[in-house]
Subunit: 240 residues, 2 copies
Amino acid sequence: MTYELHYWPGLQGRGEFVRLALETAGADYVDIARGQDGLERMTDVFDDPAQPHPPFAPPVLKDGDLLIGQTAAILLYLGPRLGLAPDSEGDRLWTHQIQLTIADLVTEAHDTHHPVATGLYYEDQMAEAARRAADFRANRLPKFLDWFERILTRNPTSGGGPWLVGDRTTYADLSLFQALEGLSYAFPKAMARLLPDRPRLQRLHAAVLTLPRLRAYIDRGPRIPFNQQDILRRYPELDD
Amino acid sequence: MTYELHYWPGLQGRGEFVRLALETAGADYVDIARGQDGLERMTDVFDDPAQPHPPFAPPVLKDGDLLIGQTAAILLYLGPRLGLAPDSEGDRLWTHQIQLTIADLVTEAHDTHHPVATGLYYEDQMAEAARRAADFRANRLPKFLDWFERILTRNPTSGGGPWLVGDRTTYADLSLFQALEGLSYAFPKAMARLLPDRPRLQRLHAAVLTLPRLRAYIDRGPRIPFNQQDILRRYPELDD
């Protein structure tokens, strides 16, 4: 069965968290919005009045008749099917809990450049963005990074390895890698200050880059570069 | 087994989404932070260095050795155990997806009064709050309410009933009820404008109030009234 991923074509965004799982597992999937009539086919998923479970927003995964929205729900579904989830219910819940916390971090990071309204331009909310970004850099970002460092340190079944849950790669590892990538794009100065004291985060980031299929995807594409339409954006004035 | 709920004692907050499920099912649980040495016992869950899966933030559910953070993950776990989740995997994912969208709405509603920093007082971000709340009332709130109305209308197995998924109450119904309660507390004028055109939302809200155990909990307590320390707060200037 070929999975369909429905997400905006011009950015990594939240779709990239799903893509990294599909790519790392070598899964058969189509990135609908990047193909022929892609945006129309994506829009159909949201606008089809016969769709009993219309999603609220992209990304959406389609697997046969099943349509799943919300990034963390998609990964909850894909994890076991792609060999990227642990075996026990407790560990699966823990992996999902980590994913939800990564999602919270990504939302807060996004809101640094759009603290008033996603429907307005950044230029219309620069003063508010400056205040929110200052708090994010000083308080929220270190709090999140500390938590990830802590749970990496405490993983009771890591076997000395670099992963968040147990001794195998899960989708949460890929998502944390992706969050770190986005944060380093958007806040290079803040991350250059924060990462050296957090060796487990660095180790996880490096370990993900050794996964052969993921490495090939990053080196050869079709990964889209980070850009100023993405969830995380580089505004130097927000990264002091 | 007695569940332990760990959440701040003085507000409904995100803990209330878990409480409503536990109360509606008549589950055996202890609201730790409201009991003897409650805040200390709650803090221990976060600070215990021997805890392999320390949560990021309250609410936290403890079931024996299992500790679960993130409201939606807690309800994903509790749903089937409390008889508040549908049977099939597809419907359970759909219920979870709805819950995650309710969580997004609650976060956006919270951010209307704290758009800059949760660590600052409202009084230190009133100008930003006014702008964010205006966008929330005009764009985001109607968009969310329309989506809930739409999925209530489309529920293919409702059997004519009022529920979001299938023909039985799920935790998502209780959570949507709770979100509507909070929004009507915080934005009475906006909600009085928006609800009349959305009959399915009104019907769901009324139907939840007929559930005997939930009704008793709301009438007799120990439900805490909404207040100005809660996630959703009533600032009349934000509700134009």
